[in-house]
């Protein structure tokens, strides 16, 4: 059965997974594969074009851009995963609870979520980071605080639908406890859509992090974060476009891979129905 599924995996999904895996491996192995220290300032060799010594060139402080992008994976991608994990951790239980129990709790929760979703998320995130002060941890906190609501809304809608199915009714009549129904009949059913949603969101979160760091609200210098690298590059892109192109490409590649995985996973879900 497993083999059969693998055969049916289309090239898109495979490509997406390979790219993501490659990026994570590169991040993991950064200390061994990066050609230079990502923080080493070398004013004598600033803004150099790509060469054998500096494959992606150097930035305005003479730091190796390739090394910074590799180390940047650790910041950008791992922050994105932490954010995804935390939002799930908050969103999933709330959604399961409100979706299955309904009633006043559900109503109250949904109105609260509606009000948070009414404000554009990037505006709310900027406001929260602005209040807390710029920094990586504050940024992660702010993004989680803004994102969990959309997760609850999405997962709750799945739970609601499942709870209307006849087999849930049968399960209830058979005397299964509420918790057991959720664990045995609901969770397996919503696993796949959440994965699809999560994969898509991972890309969005990386964009979000990069956006905030670009505005100077995220990681602080000299941390090599992709968005912050783009921000540093704005003053130099006319004279040395490499400082902007390579971090930009890294973000594009990551987001593209996430989208691919999400889309193809979504297709798979329907194929196996």
């Amino acid at each position: 059965m497993k083999l059969k599924r693998l055969e049916q995996l289309n090239t898109g999904l495979l490509a997406g997974l390979v790219i993501l895996l490659g990026i994570f491996l590169a991040g993991l192995l950064a200390p061994w594969i990066a050609p230079h220290d990502p923080l080493a300032v070398n004013l004598a060799s600033r803004l150099q074009s790509p060469s054998w010594t500096y494959p992606f060139g150097t930035d305005h402080l003479g730091r190796c851009i390739l090394s910074r992008i590799l180390y940047g994976i650790r910041i950008s991608a791992s922050s994105a995963f932490i954010i995804l994990f935390l939002t799930m951790l908050i969103g999933l239980p709330i959604a399961l609870l409100t979706g299955s129990v309904r009633g006043r709790t559900d109503n109250l929760m949904m109105r609260f979520i509606d009000s948070t979703l009414a404000i554009p998320d990037i505006v709310l995130t900027i406001a929260i980071v602005g209040l807390l002060g710029p920094g990586l941890v504050n940024m992660i906190f702010a993004i989680v605080l803004v994102r969990w609501a959309s997760y609850v809304r999405f997962i709750r809608s799945l739970v609601l639908k499942i709870f209307q199915e006849d087999y849930i009714l049968s399960a209830k009549m058979a005397g299964n406890s509420h918790f057991r129904i959720l664990r045995r009949y609901v969770l397996p059913e919503i696993k796949m859509p959440i994965l699809v949603f999560g994969a898509l969101d991972l890309g969005k979160i990386v964009l979000n992090i990069a956006g905030l760091s670009f505005l100077g609200l995220g990681s602080q210098p000299p941390t090599p974060e992709w968005g912050a690298m783009l921000n540093d590059a704005t003053d130099y892109f006319q004279i040395s476009p490499y400082v902007m192109i390579f971090p930009g490409l890294a973000i594009v590649l990551f987001v593209l891979a996430c989208q691919l995985v999400s889309e193809k996973l979504g297709e798979l879900r329907y194929d196996f129905r």
Partner: protein
């Protein structure tokens, strides 16, 4: 039936689209034809900071001054020497009394004649409304002796009064014109305000009743573009004829464009590092000396500032007489100084004292991006020597310096904006000054600054200023890094727009366009 209906809708929509397109293009043609006609005698300039209003007796005074619409009693020359402007001449009657002879035939923009009473009212309002101006002038009484004579008495001997009267905070205006809500404030400059949109633009036009040589241009539009890149691109695309505050990186790019010209001038600005004298890390002179000795000033000058500026020895640029200091030599090694203060290196090569690793917070701010770059260079140099520094960018540096805990901070200051050392030394180094943000305290320096205020002899005053700086340098409360050049760029058609050490006069009557 349905198809017939659909076809008509499609044709109708297409016709609408065509109409809309035609409408747009016609309008654009008209606009470009109009602006071409106007272009002959108008210019557009891009400045970085927008005033929040047109009240000159507020923090917006500099931006109003730069528009060419307003004037002060005294003007500072390129060499920073006070020259007559709205005041024709002046004399010192006694230690604290000055007599000014005002220009005749000066009319405010609302047509009212400027006399001694109007000037008195304006100066009085400037002092009442802005604490900075009050501290600068130290005025006790102002008296209109006759129509063209003004007597000013100061509370104490204020040797810098004349040059301080060139500060934009003292702009002369018709105070009554502020009451009217449908017109702009009335100043005396060669240009009169036509339209002001905050954060967007200020349009000024030639004032026909100007007392001096009339403006060569009919109209000047000042666009406020805060982002340096956008400002530069506006110049490259021909949207503006001149732009201020260009990043040094672009000098080379601009040089390749035959239509554009880069203008530079030595500035009176100083980029510096502040040490918090109350912080546990920098309370000790030895540690401050170590950081000071590790700042690679020349390297920063050559690379980050691309040679556009001068390496700083003291707080004032060496183009000023009181800025010509001798370089102090530090003979002790980093290790020697650190060990002298009780620090020792741990296994990771970091300095440690009482089990605590050396770790400092270094504040910078995004409004002057080069400061963050300089901070990163310093950070890496300190780390090489075993001192860990965490950079924190803050939106409002002045507030953070006062309200939060910090160890090091990047700062940039126009140290001699009125051409005299008094203001900076007083506000930065007097023990009880509100702007003494790193808590420097020295009785000797306080007394010396007071003595300088009372010294009217220019040579003696310069000598004293240098002595004060030498006394301060012993304590290293700041590390002065560089005096960056002012860099402007213009379209070659624009003439007379200059980069000057003084940052008051950007737009003026002699700017012309070919």
């Amino acid at each position: 039936m349905k198809k017939w209906y659909k076809r008509y809708i499609t044709w109708f929509c297409m016709a609408l689209c065509i109409l809309a397109l035609v409408g747009c293009s016609a309008k654009e043609e008209q606009v470009s034809a109009l602006s071409k006609e106007e272009n002959e005698n108008t210019a557009t300039l891009a400045f970085s900071w927008s005033p929040s209003g047109l009240d000159p007796h507020s923090a917006d005074s500099w931006e109003i001054m730069r528009s060419g619409a307003a004037e002060t009693l005294i003007k500072l020359s390129k060499e920073l020497v006070p020259e007559p402007w709205l005041a024709k001449s002046w004399e010192q009657v006694d230690e604290t009394t000055w007599l000014f002879e005002l220009q005749e035939n000066v009319k405010f923009h609302n047509g009212k004649a400027m006399d001694a009473t109007a000037v008195k009212d304006s100066l009085q309002r400037a002092i009442d409304n802005h604490q900075g101006t009050k501290d600068l002038l130290k005025i006790k009484t102002i008296e209109a002796v006759s129509k063209t004579q003004l007597k000013i008495q100061t509370t104490e001997v204020n040797a810098a009064l004349i040059s301080n009267l060139a500060d934009p905070g003292t702009i002369i205006m018709d105070v009554d014109s502020l009451d009217s809500e449908d017109s702009y404030p009335a100043f005396t400059g060669a240009f009169v305000v036509k339209q002001f949109n905050q954060d967007e633009s200020l349009i000024v036009q030639r004032y026909e009743d100007y007392w001096g040589d009339k403006a060569k241009l009919d109209e000047v539009t000042i666009k406020y573009i805060s982002d340096a890149n956008t400002r530069l691109m506006a110049l490259q695309s021909g949207d503006v004829d001149g732009a201020t505050d260009i990043s040094v990186e672009y000098i080379e790019v601009l040089g390749k464009n035959e239509q554009l010209e880069v203008l530079t001038a030595q500035s009176l600005r100083t980029h510096l590092v502040m040490y918090n004298m109350d912080s546990p890390l920098f309370k000790q002179l030895a540690v401050r000396k170590v950081v000071d000795s590790l700042i690679p000033r020349q390297e920063m000058m050559d690379s980050v500032l691309m040679g556009q500026g001068t390496v700083a020895v003291g707080p004032f640029s060496s183009i000023l007489q009181f800025g010509q200091l001798d370089q102090m030599e530090e003979n002790q090694s980093v290790d020697g100084l650190m060990e002298q203060d009780g620090w020792s290196k741990n296994r990771d090569g970091l300095w440690e004292k009482d089990g605590k690793v050396f770790e400092a917070t270094f504040l910078t701010f995004p409004q002057r991006p080069e400061l963050t770059v300089l901070a990163e260079v310093i950070q890496s140099k300190l780390l090489e020597q075993g001192m860990k520094v965490n950079i924190r960018q803050v939106e409002n540096i002045d507030e953070t310096l006062v309200n939060e805990e910090w160890d090091l901070a990047m700062y940039s200051m126009l140290t001699a904006h009125t051409g005299s050392p008094h203001f900076f030394l007083e506000t930065f180094y007097k023990t009880d000054s509100a702007s003494n943000m790193n808590h420097f305290a020295s009785r000797t320096v306080d007394a010396m600054i007071d003595e300088m205020h009372g010294t009217t002899d220019p040579e003696k005053s310069t000598e004293l200023a240098i002595e004060i700086q030498e006394e301060i340098a012993e304590e290293v409360p700041h590390s002065y890094i560089v005096h960056p050049n002012t860099v402007f760029a213009v379209n070659k058609d624009l003439q007379g727009f200059e980069a000057l050490p003084i940052e008051y006069y950007y737009n003026h009557a002699n700017i012309d366009k070919e």
